[in-house]
């Protein structure tokens, strides 16, 4: 079963951290269709977090059609995310390689590249929300 953790420095609200961990587990095949997520009670007892946070995360995952709640039983994975995105990985990775090479040619060091990348991801995330 999946074990959640919180990363205070991530800058993401805790419920989105849980959503992201489930999505990542699905992408990596650690979670598969039919698997049960830990119960709200189990998550809050282990992490000492607000049950509303876990409920919000699970609702968001339901909204994304990734899990379904069976009342009185638990929350279960309804589809996987693995195959399609894994296939896209290699193409994206090679594009990223090219981009990194161009960044270095342009004189950026690792730190600047990382800062640029994080800034772009955050800017786009903000844009998507608005």
């Amino acid at each position: 079963m999946l074990e959640f953790y919180l990363e205070p420095a991530s800058g993401l609200p805790p419920y989105l951290q849980l959503v992201r961990q489930v999505r990542q587990a699905l992408q990596l095949g650690v979670l598969r269709k039919g698997d049960q997520l830990p119960t709200v009670k189990e998550v809050v007892a282990g992490l000492a977090i607000n049950p509303n946070t876990v409920q919000k995360a699970y609702r968001e995952l339901e909204h994304q059609d990734l899990v379904a709640a069976r009342p009185g039983v638990g929350t279960f994975v309804t589809r996987s995310l693995g195959s399609t995105s894994l296939a896209a990985h290699s193409a994206l990775r090679s594009e990223l390689h090219d981009w990194l090479a161009r960044s270095r040619q342009a004189g950026l060091d690792d730190e600047s590249i990382e800062a640029l990348f994080v800034a772009a991801v955050r800017a786009q995330a903000r844009g998507d929300v608005a």
């Binding site: 919180l6 205070p8 800058g11 609200p13 805790p14 709200v40 009670k41 809050v44 007892a45 282990g46 992490l47 000492a48 977090i49 607000n50 049950p51 509303n52 946070t53 876990v54 608005a130």
Partner: protein, 294 residues
């Protein structure tokens, strides 16, 4: 839905000084409310007023629709774990549960026994033989087994080590997941509150300086950094909570109603701790710009 706590102009005076003044709040039920502020800011006073141990000198307070301390029904609805999670040193764990059963009409003995078993507490042990963490868990068990709708906790973990703290809050949150419960707790440990709370109340010098849902507060407050400039250049839609300047650089914590379009500021997210500190150092309001460096 009835609010868990409503206060209107609430105040408590000791002689000539106000321990809590002009407190207006409306806290929805089902939340975990974090109460933060410096020592003496009024946290314990607010909790004591909510539990009915103190009577207001001004304004009004209503808890779960009733007046705090008014009769058995009201008392049964509110649990209070006082500062330092007190227990009776000479009484055994079993005696504590018996006492709880005697004093509380809605006592849930099955819940109490199950919690004691799960915690691995020996019922014959006296409270003085327990560790700090175990005593805190015993006090929490008493608070939960009375089956309150609102549980108030005053600095419950101040004396606990990190492991005991995590276990204490873990079992508090577990109880919250099982029952319809509103929790209101004071703590200096904002990192803990960040995981626990979805509602925040910041007190400074006997006044409420900030109250609201954590999501909303974090979404509307930002840190702006950029080249030094004066406060007048900030748009009116942004309220400056606190500001600090070096020779060339300004850092502002602002509350925003609209997105900031000025590209010369770098906007960054705040943690709950940043937010709490901004309001604690900014209070009272007329000292907003005290952080200005010479």
């Amino acid at each position: 839905m009835t609010a868990a706590l409503e206060a209107d102009g609430l105040g408590l005076r000791y002689g000539r000084s106000w321990a809590l003044a002009d407190c207006t709040l409306e806290i929805p039920a089902g939340r975990v409310v974090g109460l933060v502020g410096a020592n003496g800011a009024g946290k314990t006073t607010l909790l004591s007023l909510a539990s009915g141990q103190l009577t207001p000198s001004a304004g009004s307070i209503s808890v779960l629709g009733g007046r705090p301390g008014s009769g058995r029904v009201q008392l049964a609805k509110v649990g209070f774990v006082a500062q330092g999670t007190p227990t009776y040193a000479g009484l055994s764990v079993r005696d504590h549960l018996r006492l709880g059963a005697k004093l509380n009409p809605a006592w849930d003995d099955a819940l109490a026994q199950a919690r004691i078993r799960r915690l691995g507490l020996d019922p014959r042990r006296r409270a003085r033989q327990l560790s700090g963490g175990q005593r805190a868990q015993l006090a929490l068990t008493l608070g939960l087994a009375k089956r309150p709708e609102l549980l108030l906790l005053d600095e419950p973990v101040a004396a606990l080590d990190p492991v005991a703290r995590r276990e204490f809050f873990g079992s508090l949150m577990e109880a919250m997941a099982e029952n319809d419960l509103t929790v209101m707790l004071s703590s200096h440990l904002v990192a803990d509150l960040e995981r626990l709370c979805d509602y925040l109340v910041v007190l400074a010098e006997s006044r409420v300086v900030l109250a609201g849902s954590v999501d909303e507060l974090l979404a509307t407050h930002h840190r702006l950094t950029g080249a030094r400039r004066e406060g007048s250049r900030i748009p009116r839609s942004h309220k400056v909570i606190c500001a600090s300047h070096t020779e060339r650089h300004s850092t502002l914590i602002v509350r925003a109603r609209e997105p900031l379009l000025d590209p010369t500021w770098t906007v960054s997210r705040l943690t709950l701790e940043d937010l709490v500190i901004a309001y604690m150092v900014a209070a009272p309001p007329d000292r907003t710009l005290l952080g200005v460096a010479q």
